[in-house]
């Protein structure tokens, strides 16, 4: 017998027109549902996310269909991806049936859905359907039985799960009924290619033919109604993410990670700096709330949330959405709360893991800008003091700027004012210059460069804070002031290349400063040293040691430098025992986002939490490559009672000890 099936069997071709009309109405309702949301999004400021159209489309299609971001977290991720592909397959299958019935057959007299193709088609769809049901069951059990901490159950969850389940089950019931009437007995070889239908069909074998036909018809219309219901529900429930989350992959920024808009200080028509209300955010910020599926992966990874601070990146996204819809004139900052806003370390774990391409960090930064620039607010008096110190002496410690180069006394390095003919400018940064523990890193870096025959220069007292902590706390004015001063000095020396041992200086000089007209190449010492080693300019005598490695946020997630430091440490003789949260999954030391100059007053200490992760590996040594991390970990070891259990050292210290003589 022929391997095909009669489309519209039993329901008749008379359904076609009402079907298309109703479907059209449902699509119309769907479109109108989203149309109604346009004015909500439009409350935000303009933002151009339509450039480089082709690349955006490509990125969106890639992300959506590969589900690559969904897979980053396997718990729930595998279920969703498999469910997505299954449901997509079913959708494509339905489209094929539609084309066959209303296009190929009448217009081309072509029956694609026949023969081997149809067998494969039917098998694939049945597997997809079965897989979809199993995955859906898995998702249901996860949400309602396992109940992962922080995963809320809301009205939408009941609606969506029941609706999808009903659609899938009625699909199989219809197939079963049809096969019971037309295939089970008549074409058992073909029936084998629809295992699901074959199984379900057994339910109908005892029905009288008349009842069976009626049942099938009813099931068909029920299924159709459910599908229409599905379309109509999309804009009004979590199902909207099918569109909004996919579109967010289109709308995602192309700028380098960590890019923040540079405020134009010359524009004196601006009355509001930063975001105090919904209308101060961009339309994309408001749209992000619609793209959010409340998966809570951002919250799960937020170091502040993990240590009982009132910050949840997901909650902020929701609060923005709620205000935009319900109370646009409401006080955004009061709703989110200052404590939550100041708690962020800009570690980017939220944005990095978000499968919906939501941009959490810059919303927080814009609100901080309003707090700082419009209200003169600070998270604490110690921050006010540090900011004042940066204004007066170019460093947060308040130490005399004239002593900024004291650390280099006795070393083979000159200030640029004396000798600007150098291979690289070493931008030491405030901590390496003034903080005793970190001065060791600066000295070791110079030693390494000397050994490699690199001529290094420093700015000395002409160097000022790169401006990153003030910028991340919202003080764009102080940032631009100190940045422009640095830029002028550096340009004056015609510097060809800058290397720094601080990831924050690195990101700021390499990326942030570009908006201020600065384009001197900047490198972090981890990649610089790697290049020296690869080029044989530097040789190490390995000395074995066991260690665990901390990927600092501004090197790993921000700059994608994961392998080079590990390679260097391996060459130095190190045997690494990785922490569970390493690489892009690294857990912040707590000092980013300007918090290096703030006291941690709420919840428990983030640095202690990370030290615990380090001691859990059993390694006696923790290696990092950032002055903030080094400072926080020295603190965390002491206050967390891990002294004697683990030591923390910087990459430069390890390398300098092993220079081949």
């Amino acid at each position: 017998m022929e391997a095909t099936r009669q489309i519209y069997w039993n329901v008749g071709h008379g359904v076609v027109i009402p079907m298309y009309i109703l479907a059209g109405a449902a699509f119309g309702y769907l479109a109108w549902g989203f149309w109604q949301r346009l004015p909500i999004w439009r409350q935000g400021k303009p933002l151009d996310r339509w450039d480089r159209y082709d690349e955006r489309v490509k990125r969106m299609l890639c992300e959506v269909f590969s589900q690559v971001k969904i897979f980053r977290v396997t718990d729930g991720g595998v279920f969703h991806a498999l469910f997505f592909w299954s449901f997509l397959t079913l959708f494509v299958g339905t489209l094929l049936v539609m084309f066959q019935a209303d296009f190929f057959t009448p217009l081309l007299q072509l029956n694609l859905l026949s023969g081997e193709f149809y067998k494969a088609f039917s098998l694939v769809l049945d597997i997809a359907g079965g897989l979809a049901i199993v995955m859906l069951a898995g998702l249901f059990i996860r949400r309602f039985v396992v109940q992962p901490r922080g995963l809320e159950i809301v009205r939408d969850d009941y609606i969506v799960l029941q609706l999808l389940f009903a659609i899938l089950v009625t699909g199989f019931l219809i197939e079963g009924a049809r096969m019971a009437a037309t295939e089970l007995q008549q074409n058992p070889e073909l029936a084998r290619f629809s295992p699901g239908g074959l199984l379900i069909g057994q339910l109908f074998t005892t029905m009288t033919p008349g009842t069976l036909l009626v049942t099938h018809k009813i099931l068909w219309w029920v299924h159709f109604a459910l599908v229409l219901g599905f379309f109509c529900a999309i804009p009004y429930t979590k199902l909207r993410h099918i569109f909004t989350t996919s579109v967010n992959a289109f709308l995602a920024p192309f700028e380098a990670k960590g890019y923040i808009a540079t405020i134009n200080m010359e524009d004196d028509t601006v009355e509001q700096f930063g975001a105090a209300a919904i209308t101060d955010l961009t339309w994309k910020d408001i749209f992000d709330a619609d793209a959010c599926t409340s998966c809570k992966r951002c919250q799960d990874r937020c170091p502040a949330y993990a240590t009982d601070k009132p910050l949840s990146p997901m909650k902020i996204v929701h609060q923005i959405g709620e205000l935009a819809e319900g109370n646009p004139a409401g006080n955004l900052i009061e709703t989110v709360s200052q404590d939550a806003l100041w708690a962020c370390t800009t570690c980017r774990a939220c944005q990095d893991i978000c499968p919906a391409d939501i941009e959490h960090v810059n919303k927080i930064l814009e609100m901080r800008r309003s707090l700082t620039l419009m209200d003169g607010a600070f998270p604490g008096d110690e921050v006010r003091t540090a900011i004042n110190n940066i204004e007066v002496n170019g460093n947060p410690f308040g130490l005399a700027y004239a002593s900024r180069a004291d650390w280099a006394e006795g070393l083979d390095v000159k200030v640029m004012a004396q000798d600007a003919d150098v291979d690289i400018l070493y931008f030491a940064g405030c901590f390496a210059s003034f903080d005793k523990r970190n001065q060791a890193v600066a000295r070791n870096f110079i030693t390494i460069c000397n050994a490699a025959g690199i001529k290094v220069g420093i700015l000395g007292k002409e160097e000022k804070c790169c401006g990153e902590p003030p910028r991340k706390l919202g003080n764009e004015y102080l940032y631009q002031m100190t940045a422009n001063e640095n830029i002028e000095v550096i340009k004056g020396y015609n510097v060809k290349k800058i290397v720094t041992t601080c990831p924050h200086c690195f990101n700021t000089l390499a990326r942030d400063y570009q908006d201020l007209g600065f384009d001197v190449p900047v490198e972090h010492y981890s990649t610089y040293l790697k290049a020296l080693l690869d080029g044989d300019r530097l040789k190490l005598t390995p000395e074995p040691f066991n260690f665990t490695y901390h990927d600092s946020c501004y090197i790993g997630r921000y700059m994608d430098i994961i392998d080079q430091p590990r390679a260097i440490l391996a060459q130095a003789g190190g045997a690494i025992i990785e922490m569970a949260q390493n690489g892009y999954d690294s857990f912040c030391c707590s000092a980013g986002g300007g918090r290096i100059i703030a006291e941690e007053k709420l919840g428990s200490k983030i640095s202690e939490a990370r030290i615990k992760m380090a001691t859990d590996t059993g390694a006696p040594l923790l290696v990092s490559n950032c002055p903030f991390c080094l400072t926080m970990f020295e603190d965390g070891i002491k206050t967390g009672g891990a002294e004697g259990q683990i030591r923390v050292r910087d990459l430069a210290e390890i390398v300098a000890e092993r220079i081949e003589l």
Binding site: D268, V392, G398, L399
Partner: protein, 258 residues
């Protein structure tokens, strides 16, 4: 109502001070400058009062010195002063408190200020004279070292900080002058809109020669680091060593560890 606040730009106190060529004051190389800390309390209090009194109140900030003091003036403007007077004087640091007070009094005398705010002393010279002297030259009431301030319809109620944590409560009527002490208030951090507005505020530049009418009554003959007191033991080096040595000294020289 007219208010005046007098500020001085001083070097940051973390700096290392070295005598200048003449040996009578500090050399200005490698120094970071900032508004005198006590003057910040004065500016903040003046701005708070100005805000309370609203329209019809004008607050002027004055500073004497070379061009670099304009930065401190701008900060005061950004905190909320309405306009400024920069008494241009490249040699201000060579004038004594009497001359400084005379200059300020000469500026203020025909302007009808109801209230004048100053810091109680400067962090660099620290003679604590200028404020009260200005009041005496102008013949107005004054009180010093205030840590509490209230103004109501022409009457000032101020709290003076006395030794031992006691406060003295004082009332006076305008026109009057107060000198401000740490603890009076927390100076605000200028908001960006205010910083930008400040750029447009008027800074009247007045050459000091127009106002100077007094000779100095005292001169500084030497500026030098304090003589090192002999007999004090200095312990440096390794912490464990220092601990041992100190304990030995405590046992030897005091009865604390017996």
């Amino acid at each position: 109502m007219k208010l005046l606040v007098c500020i001085k730009q001083v070097p940051d106190m973390e700096s290392r001070f070295k005598p200048d060529a003449a040996g009578v004051w500090f050399a200005e190389t490698d120094l970071a400058f900032r508004m005198n800390e006590y003057d910040e309390y004065a500016v903040e209090q003046a701005v708070q009062l100005r805000e309370k009194l609203g329209d019809g109140c004008e607050l002027t900030v004055l500073s004497i010195g070379p061009d670099r003091v304009v930065e401190a003036i701008k900060k005061a403007l950004a905190m909320g002063c309405d306009n400024a007077a920069h008494i241009q004087d490249p040699a201000a640091s060579g004038k004594d408190p009497w001359q400084i007070a005379s200059i300020i009094a000469a500026y203020a005398k025909d302007k009808g200020f109801d209230l004048i705010f100053t810091g109680m002393q400067s962090q660099d010279r620290g003679s604590a004279q200028v404020g009260v002297t200005v009041a005496e030259l102008l013949g107005i009431a004054s009180t010093s070292t205030i840590v509490g301030f209230d103004y109501d319809n022409g009457t000032i109620t101020a709290k003076r900080e006395l030794e031992g944590g006691i406060k003295g409560v004082v009332k006076m009527k305008t026109p009057a002058l107060v000198t401000c002490q740490l603890g009076l208030n927390i100076p605000r951090y200028p908001t960006l809109p205010n910083i930008m507005k400040a750029k447009k505020k008027e800074i009247a530049a007045i050459p000091v020669a127009d106002l100077l009418n007094a000779d100095s009554l005292a001169t500084t003959t030497s500026f030098h680091p304090p003589a090192k007191k002999g007999g004090g033991i200095v312990l440096e080096g390794d912490v464990a060593d220092q601990v041992d040595k100190l304990i030995a000294i405590l046992k030897d020289k005091t009865a604390v560890l017996r």
